[in-house]
């Protein structure tokens, strides 16, 4: 063994750096398309903009097989528990890209039926503004997410979403205790958080 020169075949780095490098270049998006932004998402995937250049061409409609949740469009109060369920089911590590103003803040729909920003119910990593954002903007959002992943630690990412699971357990408890539908429970949790001056339920 003594005569072998390892200089050319061994490289030292941090585990975080090499894992993050792999993670950021193989994002598998789950398009949670609910409204108009989903149409722009089609443009983003189609011939002209071609999102697959960023290593994110493997679209998976199953939460188990994807790690980037792209929320494309308005999330209503009726949809909120479903979004939470989908997010909970995703395998870790997972990131959320909130595309469009409706998903980010409720947008022009300041009404009884629209959730005023999905960050009230799930953790969000990158917000893309626009109604709908141009495909370029969505791609830029995804690139921002890649930049963010580069700086993360593996442990930090894990701890970041732990609070979310606690809120999931609280939601289930409430559902059982009061015999309400998941829609109504999430709605009441959001309303109560607002009364207490909190921004989010997780």
């Amino acid at each position: 063994m003594a005569g072998i020169n390892l200089d050319d075949s061994v490289m030292t780095t941090r585990l975080d750096a090499v894992v993050n490098w792999a993670r950021k270049n193989s994002l598998w998006p789950l398009p949670f398309g609910t409204a108009c932004c989903a149409i722009e998402f089609m443009s983003m995937m189609a011939s002209r903009y071609d999102f697959s250049r960023f290593g994110a061409e493997a679209l998976r409609f199953s939460p188990r097989q994807s790690d980037m949740l792209m929320v494309l469009g308005t999330i209503t109060n009726k949809q909120a528990p479903i979004l939470r369920q989908i997010y909970a089911q995703m395998a870790e590590p997972k990131w959320v890209l909130s595309v469009g103003v409706c998903a980010s803040s409720g947008g022009m729909y300041r009404t009884y039926s629209t959730l005023q920003g999905i960050d009230r119910v799930v953790p969000v990593d990158v917000y893309v503004p626009g109604c709908p954002p141009r495909p370029e903007a969505m791609i830029y959002g995804a690139m921002q997410l890649q930049a963010k992943i580069t700086k993360e630690t593996i442990k930090g990412r894990r701890e970041h979403i732990e609070k979310f699971y606690e809120s999931m357990a609280r939601q289930e408890e409430l559902q059982k205790a009061r015999g309400l539908s998941s829609h109504q429970v999430v709605r009441e949790m959001v309303l109560a958080a607002g009364e207490n001056g909190e921004q989010r339920i997780w």
């Binding site: 398309g33 609910t34 149409i39 089609m42 443009s43 189609a46 009884y112």
Partner: protein, 404 residues
């Protein structure tokens, strides 16, 4: 082999039913809807659609906005053909006011409606084919849709949600570069439709997946409240552009495409032919625009439409008009109107009740795909689960307008 079969439990007489949830997050539901399918093997016994996952409260919001402010919300109803909703809504308000927009604006409205119709059909057919498994056609067609986006961006400054119309006319005139690009588009779209037809029309797999699927008789279609391509595919020649012409559609030359059986294949054929007819109308519009020449695109009644910006900045009277219109809105007559236009999916109606104030007392949208989707169970009952996907795609369900 035979050993395996004997060990399987026998099916109980009522069948072992399996419940499958299709949606609310599913790749073939464009937008969000939820269908609970009860399956016996691969056959659908019962299908219960649940909607409302994209109910954003548009009608309630409309009661709190002025008539002008509602225009951006109409974009987001049917987001595949936003411009057509703008046109439909402004026509309804103009009917309420009893005014008509200038001739150049009328031609431009027809032009952009027909472009939007082509765009909508491109998405509908393309995605229907993708859901069934034919991906190639989608890529060809989306290239044309991108050109339509470019045209809209030239017109209105936004790709998708253009909010191009105003009450009494249009936001602005088209730029000089529009007409050459539109002329090119008409030529290339024609070729793309031919290409698409070569990929799909005689494709045996496409035919197997679509022929006879979702067939509906004319009587049933009327009973369910069908309008638009789905009704025409069932053999009823009902097209509001011909039957109750608006925007001078009676002066354009085009044919109404109809088919006979109402199945998914016929709906595809009707949509394809409609795209060709729309291209014909677009050609006539381009010719007509040259004949009319430059002119106003919005009424010069400053009680209804905003005065031009140069006048607002230089003349006191125009500034007052501007202020009055923004702060107090338009003086609306008291009354109620229902105005319908032929949108890409069918009859898009706006029912507006006015109490004379600046915002509508009640505004109701009659979305074309709402009654069509209510017939979903009848369309798929007793058929394979795979057929549910093709039926859903051919109905062209747009959750934004269905749930509002």
């Amino acid at each position: 082999m035979s050993k395996m079969e004997t060990t399987l439990p026998a099916l109980s007489p009522d069948g072992d039913r399996m419940i499958v949830n299709m949606g609310p997050s599913h790749n073939s539901t464009h937008g969000t809807l939820h269908i609970v399918l009860e399956l016996d093997g691969e056959f659908i016994v019962k299908a219960t659609p649940q909607i409302g996952y994209l109910h954003r409260g548009v009608e309630k919001l409309g009661e709190n906005l002025t008539y002008q402010q509602f225009i951006p919300l109409t974009d987001r109803l049917n987001y595949c053909s936003s411009l057509m909703n703008n046109v439909g809504y402004t026509l309804a308000v103009e009917k309420l006011l009893g005014i008509q927009d200038p001739p150049r604006s009328r031609v431009l409205r027809v032009l952009c409606s027909e472009l939007a119709r082509i765009g909508d059909h491109l998405v509908c057919i393309g995605i229907n084919a993708v859901d069934i498994g034919a991906f190639t056609a989608f890529l060809y067609m989306f290239k044309e849709r991108e050109t339509i986006y470019d045209l809209f961006e030239m017109m209105a400054g936004q790709r998708l949600h253009s909010s191009f119309t105003r009450i009494g006319g249009l936001f602005r005139d088209i730029p000089a570069e529009f007409e050459p690009l539109c002329g090119q588009f008409v030529e290339s779209c024609e070729r793309t439709i031919d290409e698409m037809e070569r990929l799909l029309t005689h494709n045996p797999i496409w035919a197997d997946r679509t022929k006879g699927v979702g067939a509906i008789s004319a009587e049933d279609a009327i009973g369910w409240g069908y309008t638009g391509p789905c009704l025409r595919a069932a053999g009823v020649a009902q097209d509001l552009r011909v039957a109750q012409p608006y925007l001078d559609y009676e002066t354009y030359e085009f044919d109404v495409a109809i088919a006979g059986s109402g199945d998914v294949y016929d709906r595809y054929l009707v949509r394809t032919e409609e795209m060709r007819q729309s291209l014909r109308i677009v050609r006539q519009c381009l010719k007509r625009l040259k004949e009319i020449g430059p002119g106003p695109v919005i009424v010069e009644d400053y009680k209804v439409a905003l005065p031009p910006k140069e006048k607002v900045y230089t003349r006191m009277e125009s500034l007052i008009h501007h202020f009055k219109l923004i702060m107090h809105g338009i003086d609306m007559p008291v009354g109620e109107v229902y105005s319908a236009t032929e949108a890409a999916n069918g009859e898009l109606g706006f029912y507006i009740v006015s109490d004379g104030t600046k915002s509508p007392y009640r505004i109701h949208v009659r979305p074309p795909c709402f009654p069509i989707f209510s017939s979903f169970e009848e369309q798929v009952k007793g058929r394979l689960i795979a057929d549910a996907i093709s039926v859903l795609g051919a109905m062209n369900i747009i959750a934004g307008e269905m749930d509002r």
